[in-house]
């Protein structure tokens, strides 16, 4: 029995297996947003269809669900009904869609066909998406009544996830 080989091998084995075990169950796509617990960046953008300007500051006093999406994004189609239903069920929460790198005609067509329970604004040059550090669509920010971001969700959101976020801001 070669003790040197055994002890070196044991150290390497233990270290590697421990590290990899700790890594199991971690979602590498999840990136902590530095914006959580910070004030939501301000913006004023034009609403699709009406052209009215919506200012995020005007929603102060009400929790806001801010959803970045686009018509060319498959997962956004998936979560669209979830957002619509929840928006209808929770009039006390302001939902707002921000469309990212898209064209107005396509958005209008999409909303006509799939329904819309809340306003959607166009992020013209992507400035708002940059301010919110959006890495891809869909991404959803949950903002409390004081205008502070409490959570960020990457990817399509499910009914259960959205409910648990809302429970947090409606408490």
């Amino acid at each position: 029995m070669n003790r040197f080989v055994l002890s070196t091998g044991a150290v390497i084995t233990a270290a590697l297996v421990t590290v990899l075990m700790a890594g199991l169950g971690r979602d590498p796509k999840h990136i902590d947003s530095p914006l959580v617990h910070q004030a939501a960046p301000a913006f004023a953008l034009k609403t699709v269809g009406t052209g009215e300007t919506v200012d995020i500051a005007s929603f102060r006093g009400k929790p806001v669900v801010l959803n970045f999406w686009a018509t060319w994004c498959g997962p956004c189609w998936e979560e669209h009904p979830v957002l619509n239903e929840t928006a209808r069920a929770h009039p006390e929460v302001q939902f707002l869609g921000v469309v990212f790198q898209d064209d107005e005609a396509k958005i209008q067509d999409f909303l006509r066909k799939r329904g819309s329970a809340y306003p959607t604004v166009i992020d013209d040059r992507g400035k708002t998406a940059i301010a919110y550090g959006v890495g891809g669509v869909p991404e959803t920010f949950i903002i409390d009544a004081h205008g502070t971001i409490v959570a960020k969700h990457d990817g399509p959101i499910t009914q259960e996830q959205l409910q648990s976020y809302l429970a947090e801001v409606l408490r």
């Binding site: 029995m1 080989v5 590697l16 990899l20 590498p28 060319w72 994004c73």
Partner: protein
């Protein structure tokens, strides 16, 4: 049809049964030295290969006939994708890729059983036992946690098709299978190493079988790594070919240890030393492929390769831990019985440089391994996310790479064994001319980065040594292959140094009709085009390219929107010449305005060609099987592999 899925499951269960029985029988007949046992283990090895082949054919049949009752087909199949995409869908997603893995393993095991047996009769039972134990593990994965043959009822009418990134470029047809051939192939030398350790000795026929199988995997792995880099360059749009992505690193790690093992095996053969060390490297190469499989398949690392999170992560981790513990225990128990027959008596000698080469390659391996798993350590310790980026890898790896390149020149110039001081000087001085010549040439063409200049010198030195050795040709034919590989390595390292430090990059925003210049090129944005395909829509920018006033080509970089993806994927377009590439990708695109990334990179194509040259050298070394001439000083023990080297 439900029968298809059931047939597939039956074949995999058969493979599980056959491999488990064969593994047990192999080890038992090795211990009892039973010829009858060996005959039956061989039959079971062939049966395992045949069952895996049949199971894969059943899956391909289901894919091609769009049999959506089979879970994997429902998951990756689609009626709207071309036939070639349907065929390669086999390895486009987790379950199918593990089945494909099983197929490659089955073929390897059958071939190794058939072609390596002669002269290795006493080691074969253990080797077959080891291979089939791995076969049993993969059959278990396919039969259980990653089963592609589940039945879906009622069957859907159509499926989503495979991951769009895989449909983006034809290189994706070649990269995964070659990588699997490289990865899975490491199982074969591992089996021989386990056999050598269990028997406590290793003779020339076993060394040869181990080296050849290692070399074969090394060739496939080299091409696969290159194709992966090339694909990243052609498809991903950031203009580079290597990002130190965890999964790229995963493919590099076993390549590094296999390269080290190929060299130390030569010292083992020639001087009768480094036996335990060579076997350790062979085991490490296999273990690192298992680690690589874990990295790609567990969803723990973020990369272009990450498959969805799945239940097979823990299963592969258990396998990795078991193989690690088994290997370490076996090494600790047996390494001292592999007594050295010779010794290295001169530090400044061919074998001396082999030792340094091994040391550097192992250091290289550790550097990359640590950089790859470090983010996991940090997150486990304090919950903070971090990533280890290019600066770490570059600052660690560049000096190691340059040192290895120097050795590649010095080593072959030195004779084996002790040499007179005068001979050493005569061997080492002349190539300085080659080093100086390439350095001057590089500086004339604008090389200023100190590391690039050092690389040019080391590269020129190595090239002169290699070419002189090739011209002599008094060596065994295997040496020809080895020197062709060295030539490829020297060219590749120089091309990597030049292309990564001398590229020119410019970001421009052009209105329709406007031009910009980069290097000798003038690019003109002539307009956009929208193209719809069933699985994606593309916005294309048309760019006219002229060089010194002459029209050269029209490039069409594009942004692709896939239904399945959260963000658009840009596909660059490249104008390649032997001197360098013009590379254009889109940053933003509006009907009459394009934001473009323009890159001119010298010598990129040389990297691809140099790696192909390395592979060709490997094939020469492999195909022209050398006659092993045992050195007269060595003693024989019985027949065949009893010859202790």
């Amino acid at each position: 049809m439900i029968a298809t899925a059931a047939l597939g499951r039956l074949l995999i269960l058969g493979a599980l049964l056959v491999s488990t029985a064969g593994a047990l029988l192999g080890f038992a007949s090795g211990a009892k030295r039973s010829d009858e046992g060996l005959r039956w283990s061989k039959r079971l090895a062939y049966a395992f290969g045949a069952l895996m082949l049949l199971a894969t054919l059943v899956m391909e049949h289901a894919l091609l006939t769009h049999d959506f009752s089979v879970s994997y087909v429902a998951h990756v199949g689609s009626r709207s994708v071309p036939v070639w995409v349907t065929i390669v869908s086999l390895w486009s997603s987790l379950e199918g890729s593990i089945l494909f893995w099983g197929l490659v393993l089955g073929i390897y095991i059958a071939a190794a059983t058939r072609f390596s047996s002669r002269g290795n009769e006493e080691s074969m039972p253990y080797a077959i036992g080891t291979w089939l134990a791995c076969g049993a593990f993969f059959s278990f994965l396919i039969a259980g946690p990653a089963n592609p043959f589940l039945t879906i009822s009622p069957a859907p009418l159509d499926g989503p098709g495979p991951n769009p990134l895989l449909q983006n470029h034809v290189l994706m047809v070649a990269h995964p299978p070659l990588l699997y051939l490289g990865y899975v192939g490491m199982t074969i030398p591992f089996g021989f190493a386990v056999a050598a350790l269990l028997r406590g000795k290793i003779g020339p026929t076993l060394i040869r079988a181990m080296r050849n199988s290692l070399l074969l995997s090394w060739i496939f792995l080299s091409i696969a790594i290159m194709l992966g880099g090339w694909w990243a360059y052609e498809v991903l749009g950031w203009g580079g070919y290597w990002a130190w992505d965890p999964v790229e690193n995963a493919s590099l790690l076993p390549w590094l240890t296999a390269t080290a093992a190929l060299h130390s095996a030569m010292v083992m053969q020639r001087r009768g030393v480094l036996k335990g060390w060579t076997l350790t490297l062979v085991q490490a190469s296999f273990l690192l492929t298992v680690l690589g499989t874990f990295m790609t398949r567990s969803g723990v690392f973020n990369s272009v390769h990450s498959f969805t999170q799945s239940a097979i992560g823990p299963t592969i981790l258990v396998f990795l831990a078991a193989v690690l513990i088994g290997s370490v225990t076996l090494l600790a128990l047996r390494i001292d019985t592999l007594e050295n027959d010779g010794r290295i008596d001169a530090p400044v000698s061919r074998e001396g440089t082999f030792l340094i080469n091994n040391l550097l390659l192992v250091l290289f391996t550790f550097t990359v391994l640590v950089g790859t798993v470090f983010p996991l350590v940090v997150e486990a310790v304090n919950g903070k996310q971090m990533s280890v980026g290019r600066p770490y890898f570059d600052s660690m790896v560049v000096p190691l790479g340059v040192a290895l390149l120097f050795l590649l020149g010095i080593g072959p110039a030195l004779p084996w064994g002790r040499a007179a001081r005068e001979d050493i000087r005569r061997a080492l001085l002349p190539p300085i001319v080659g080093g100086a010549a390439l350095t001057v040439l590089g500086v004339v063409f604008g090389a200023r980065n100190p590391w690039t200049i050092v690389t040019l010198f080391a590269g020129g030195y190595a090239l002169q040594v290699t070419i002189v050795q090739l011209a002599k040709l008094r060596h065994s034919r295997r040496s020809v292959g080895a020197y062709v590989i060295h030539l490829g390595v020297a060219i590749a390292v120089v091309a990597i140094a030049i292309s990564s430090t001398m590229r020119v990059q410019r970001e421009v925003v052009l209105q329709q009709g406007q031009s910009a210049t980069i290097g000798a090129y003038t690019v003109t944005f002539t307009g956009t085009e929208e193209r719809s395909e069933p699985h994606r829509t593309s916005s294309i920018a048309r760019i006219g390219v002229t060089k010194n006033g002459r029209a050269v080509t029209t490039l069409e970089p594009r942004m692709n929107h896939y239904e399945m993806m959260r963000e658009p994927i840009g596909t660059p377009d490249v104008h390649s010449t032997i001197g360098g590439d013009l590379y254009i990708s889109i940053a933003s695109l509006e009907p009459n305005r394009a934001g473009l990334l323009l890159i001119v990179t010298p010598l990129v194509s040389w990297i691809w060609l140099a790696v192909l040259m390395m592979a060709a050298g490997g094939v020469i070394a492999l195909v022209r099987l050398p006659r092993m001439t045992p050195l007269p000083a060595l003693r024989r023990e019985g027949s065949g592999e009893g010859l202790a080297v």
